[in-house]
Symmetry: C2
Subunit: 413 residues, 2 copies
Amino acid sequence: MIKITLDDVREMDRVDPLANCAKAFSLPDGVVYLDGNSLGAMPVAVPRRVEGLLRKEWRQSLVRGWTDHSWIDLPVRVGKRIAGLIGANEDEVVVSDSTSVNLHKLLVAALKLREGRSVVVSNQENFPTDLYIVQGLAWLLDDSISLRLVPTADIESAINEEVAVVMLTQVDYRTGAMLDIEALTDLAHQRGALVIWDLSHSAGAIDIDLGRADVDFAVGCGYKYLNGGPGAPAFLFVAKRHQDQAQSSLWGWFGHASPFEFDTGYQPSDGLARMQCGTPPILSLVALDTALDAFMGTEMKAIRAKSVALTDLFVELVDQSCQGFDLDLASPRQSVSRGSQVSLRHDEGYPIVQALIARGVIGDFRAPDILRFGFAPLYLRYENVWTAVETLREVMITRAWDSPEFRRRGVVT
Amino acid sequence: MIKITLDDVREMDRVDPLANCAKAFSLPDGVVYLDGNSLGAMPVAVPRRVEGLLRKEWRQSLVRGWTDHSWIDLPVRVGKRIAGLIGANEDEVVVSDSTSVNLHKLLVAALKLREGRSVVVSNQENFPTDLYIVQGLAWLLDDSISLRLVPTADIESAINEEVAVVMLTQVDYRTGAMLDIEALTDLAHQRGALVIWDLSHSAGAIDIDLGRADVDFAVGCGYKYLNGGPGAPAFLFVAKRHQDQAQSSLWGWFGHASPFEFDTGYQPSDGLARMQCGTPPILSLVALDTALDAFMGTEMKAIRAKSVALTDLFVELVDQSCQGFDLDLASPRQSVSRGSQVSLRHDEGYPIVQALIARGVIGDFRAPDILRFGFAPLYLRYENVWTAVETLREVMITRAWDSPEFRRRGVVT
């Protein structure tokens, strides 16, 4: 195998068609940020836009901001922009609430569309809050529905004629393993089930094509690769063909056909807008809207190409420089099965991650032994990957992690 | 009746113990803002605090902001502060989601605590989204629960042994009529029902005492008299005595006992924290947190006293100056039965409100004929009330409202 050099890596940066996108972000000096899969970096345009919202719109227009500055349309307008990033039609995505709450809405919608079937299939590797949402709904419905939780390998065999919904996350938050949306959606449909895909760990980094895959429903998070800021509102997708029938049970005035008629009876709006519920948090929505500007002028295929190149490079450099440290690759080696994330396993994963963070390489740790590194294609340079691996090598060679300072556990986020 | 003069009103401002509170807010020049019951005015401290969150916390600390800047505790910390404004204990209020979503959580909790009873009583005058939430839940539960919707006058007779929950809003959004929390809670309890109070149109303006009234559950909105900004997150209250049993069906990771263990099974946290669901919108939460600073050093009793004085003054000045214009008082004349709002009725209410707005007096209109004026005690001066009524008088005398410009309907918020 030919050794990769720093010069090679710098050449990758020199010819990177997305190199200019990093200018849209502001990162602290000396930091290699590999946790954009938890919380995306701050787009430089956000503070000014939010200040404008506060000082010009809220202060100046007061309640008339809802109309004069079109706050009221933000959930739909921002949804349209996200639609373009996940292969959906403009009228198939709306921004609203949190991922968990949106999942509840779509689960109810899907279960009602498949009345007579009562099982939700998911995998044990799914992000836990998704599973909790099913469990809470089952509790509410006196266990007339149930969660069938299986290892990823058994998803296919778990889908039988009892299954109403297959609910999966595209990219595994721990290992970065990526499921095949198209194949699994097709399988579910063949067996009469609907699908809900959670795109939280993929939207903004992977070239998703919900339309081509014929996906029924999807949710996703605004604060990871979409960079909307801490706790940014989430989005949800409903395929056009379901929009007239699909109905959440969270009936709120923002989903009403004529909210300002103040009728005592609920009348769902046409189309997707009915999936909104209460008044949306405008500050957070405006930040997310502004963050999406960073995607303008790029194609998701180019972003995914860089995601593959960044993660491939990381894997290759770890192979090259970190042999003999008991660091095992926890992610798929083939990029086609991997999101924009590479995870390693090590029994001392926790202090190793802390030692990396102390040196400005920010990844994170997931119990019991996962070191997680996310690669946000818009703001990472290939040389950042080089620096990260060199720093990892130094931490391992010097056993810098082996200190009480790094072993002390705080709250892990 | 002795005529009230501008000098009298100025004297009221001079001796107003809350006069200094207005400095905490920034309002446009020349505006008398009487719509703080829809969207509160901007506290001056908010832009700087939000900018700090963005430029110092998010940009600089990135994902570690959750711990280093305690974002993760914001729902509980801000809840504690709101608790002090509504007569609750510190550990009885948490900030989360929207009012509508929180109502869904508490309805489920209350219905589960009263299994065997299946009726939710509310009044036709309630804010519609509250009713929609019950209707959506009934739809989900195949009508095994139902909404019994009655005129306010019939609430008492509607509460029988079938009733699990009495769900009411303290202050009527249209008329400003205020219900007696203590009496109605007592009545519901006598008949074996639980209560859920919506404090959206009262928290921050009325001296609520949830503890003394023995209230079970409550929700409220962050963007009206609490001034948290457009779409600010909402709060919810669960009386201590219910916290070990009460359970929402929106099981999300922020309500889990150990969210960062990433268990596949939901385990509710102790106490109120379980009522959280997904990741909260930190930008909006920080704005709300900062907005609450404006309440520091005041007592809700003093705020309520000013609310009564402002609304009494408005009623008296309308009596004094607007006779013969067919403006009828839609609110209770006695302040004890009135929130911090006065509504008038007029067949031409819509264009009258528009003509007032064009002159800088911002109220709003609710179909079919309600002119709505909210009085936020923290930032309004008594002289603002004088100006508002003088402007109303001018609009009526000159028939300034009778123009196509003001009759044209936009979206009414």
